[in-house]
Amino acid sequence: MALLEIENLHTYYGHVHALKGISLTVNEGEIVTLIGANGAGKTTTLRTISGLLRPREGRIVFQGEELNNVPAHEIVYRGISQAPEGRAVFTTLTTNENLSMGAYSLGGDKEAIEENRRRVFKLFPRLEERKNQIAGTLSGGEQQMLAIGRALMARPKLLMLDEPSLGLAPMLVKAIFQTIREINEQGVTILLVEQNARAALKLADKGYVLETGNIVLEGTAEELMGDERVRKAYLGER
């Protein structure tokens, strides 16, 4: 069953036509990845889904409800969380406070918040060790963990991850992707935006290839891995 369905999405930055009619489907329980080069429109797609950008045309339907005109801060209440690009944690807040901000949408439900916090600490034991540290002083990998953990605090049905591997050492990338799989196994659907196509396709069930605001290819991860164009352009093979 389709959890998220996007039809013919057009988004603009001023006069710049950034998304030129994107359609994609994310089914419940899947890991779906969007791959593409810099400036292809991957981040724009996520920002449009989260309501930070308004589409000029098209429909975003989540669990049968249209999200086009829902303000950004209400999207999270519907069950979509995003770990933004560049590990945008609140650098002046502590790890714990960052996690609490992630659970902002849960309101005063202390029990649920603490349970979520335990769950996040189980996934990322490093965060528990650093729970009272100011987030700005965490390492890059820890900040990425915090960004993902913070997004999980809202108990999302759909978790959107924007370039979780960006700027991390290969070892860490592996660990983070392992955790993403674990999260998925706990029943969270994942929409993953990546430049690291190989790692993303290995993890994903399904993939879309974006080029200059258009989807040029789609298919299961195996199909894409086997596609010659993908192999040449994104997997670095000749």
Partner: protein, 450 residues
């Protein structure tokens, strides 16, 4: 290196020269003020060498060249063979190193040698050097300056918090904050005057004052919220010049709206009997009102700090200050957090306005300008965007402003130095912005601007 040197122009040299000259004058003023002496008793200021031989039998005769009362600036100099009549507490003229009390002197018959115009005095005792002289400003004076400075500084700090918080979330100087401060105070003054007339203020001072505070804070908050909605929110994506202009426009609007609605004269603020009076500790007199204003300001600052650090809304504001988009992704309503910031800052300004009016005893439609710009100075001093910085900046400025003029200018002989307190505040503003625009405590700004 040579290139750097070459870029230093004559103008730079002149500017630095002027800066150093000001510093030198300030230091010199401090020394002169601290070392200046006043007469401890009524008598004559003389040179000790002249009266060393004086005794009951053989008095010394000196020419009197002038008289100084309390508060006079000495315009004469005590030379050899000359005395100056001084009142107790009067500043001593240069050259004098002892004051002979009146009882050890006698007016001489000036008929001698026919010089009828000149007055003379007989000194009957060789008073030791340095006798009967004291500092012009005693310890008590400085303490009472300091306490008044704390009260004033508390008010500045409360207003400064509004500037700093809005800057923190929007990177915008809310120019209208001074008028927000004025609006609440102005409306509340009507309530306060009505209470005072009906006698309620004297019967139930605490309840009455709480109502006055509530009115001021509510009005200020409403004004700020409307302002944000009408003049700032539509322009959030515009270049920085644009909201600055609307802010100036809104300042005009509010000032003249109040002038038109309520008249442009001064309005009296009632005396609150419960708050008048003072404690007397030895020589030191402390006005109740100054202490109460300071304590109230500190309590409100603690309240604000708790609100920002501990409550959910406070944390949401901090999250918005750091990154609006990510805050929205967390489910925080960014617009609401911004309005809340304006509202909280305005409520503090309204409360500060009542405190300000309690010791200033009057309100006008232009009363927002000076405290506004001074509170802004305080916010810059503490590093704009930095909440504890604004608190300390406000207190520092208040104290500096009450002590500074006397400390720097009195010894230099500048008449009525306290009139120059505004100049001191403005000079401080300019100097900080030139040499340390991030403020004394603020590193936050540079980090965020990146």
């Amino acid at each position: 290196m040579r290139q750097r040197l070459a870029r230093i122009t004559i103008v730079d040299l002149v500017v630095w020269g002027i800066g150093l000259a000001i510093l030198a004058v300030a230091v010199w003023g401090v020394i002169a003020t601290v070392t200046a002496r006043a007469a401890a008793v009524d008598g004559y200021a003389v040179r000790q060498a002249d009266i060393a031989q004086a005794s009951q039998e053989k008095p010394v005769r000196l020419a009197v060249v002038g008289a100084l009362k309390l508060g006079d600036m000495p315009d004469v100099r005590v030379k050899k063979g000359v005395a100056v009549r001084v009142a107790a507490g009067a500043r001593l003229p240069r050259g004098a190193n002892v004051v002979v009390p009146l009882e050890d002197t006698d007016k001489a018959s000036s008929a001698r040698r026919g010089s009828s115009s000149s007055e003379e005095v007989l000194i009957y005792r060789a008073v030791p050097r340095g006798e009967n002289m004291g500092p012009i400003y005693g310890k008590e004076d400085w303490i009472s300056f300091f306490i008044f400075g704390l009260a004033q500084g508390g008010v500045y700090a409360l207003i400064a918090l509004g500037y700093t918080m809005v800057y923190g979330v929007l990177f915008m100087i809310n120019f209208t904050h001074g008028e927000v401060f004025m609006s609440g105070t102005y409306i509340a003054s009507y309530v306060a005057n009505a209470f005072a007339r009906s006698g309620f203020m004297d019967e139930q001072p605490i309840i009455a004052l709480l109502i006055v505070f509530a009115v001021a804070m509510t009005v200020s908050t409403c004004v700020a919220v409307v302002l944000e909605r009408v003049a700032y929110r539509p322009l959030r994506k515009a270049p920085r010049l644009v909201p600055l202009i609307t802010a100036i426009g809104a300042s005009f609007f509010l000032q003249y709206a109040f002038a038109r609605l309520f008249g442009s004269g001064m309005k009296r603020y009632p005396d609150v009997k419960a708050l008048s009076g003072s404690w007397q500790i030895g020589e030191l007199k402390i006005l109740h009102i100054h202490v109460i204003v300071f304590v109230a300001a500190v309590l409100m600052m603690i309240g604000l700090y708790w609100f920002v650090q501990r409550t959910k809304t406070g944390k949401a504001i901090r999250a918005v200050a750091e990154d609006k988009d990510v805050a929205a992704l967390m489910g925080i309503d960014v617009d609401r957090a911004i309005v809340t910031t304006f509202a909280v800052g305005a409520a503090l300004a309204g409360a500060a306005g009542v405190l300000f009016a309690l010791y200033n005893k009057q309100v006008t439609h232009t009363m927002g300008f000076m405290p506004g710009i001074k509170a802004f100075t305080a916010a810059v001093l503490g590093g704009i965007g930095n909440i504890p910085g604004a608190m300390f900046g406000g207190l520092f400025l208040g104290i500096f402003e009450t002590i500074g003029p006397t400390l720097f200018f009195d010894g230099l002989g500048v008449p009525s130095p306290s009139q120059l307190k505004d100049v001191i505040a403005f000079t401080m503003l300019v100097v900080i912005l030139i040499f340390r625009p991030t403020g004394i405590m603020g590193e936050v700004l540079t980090e965020k601007k990146a």
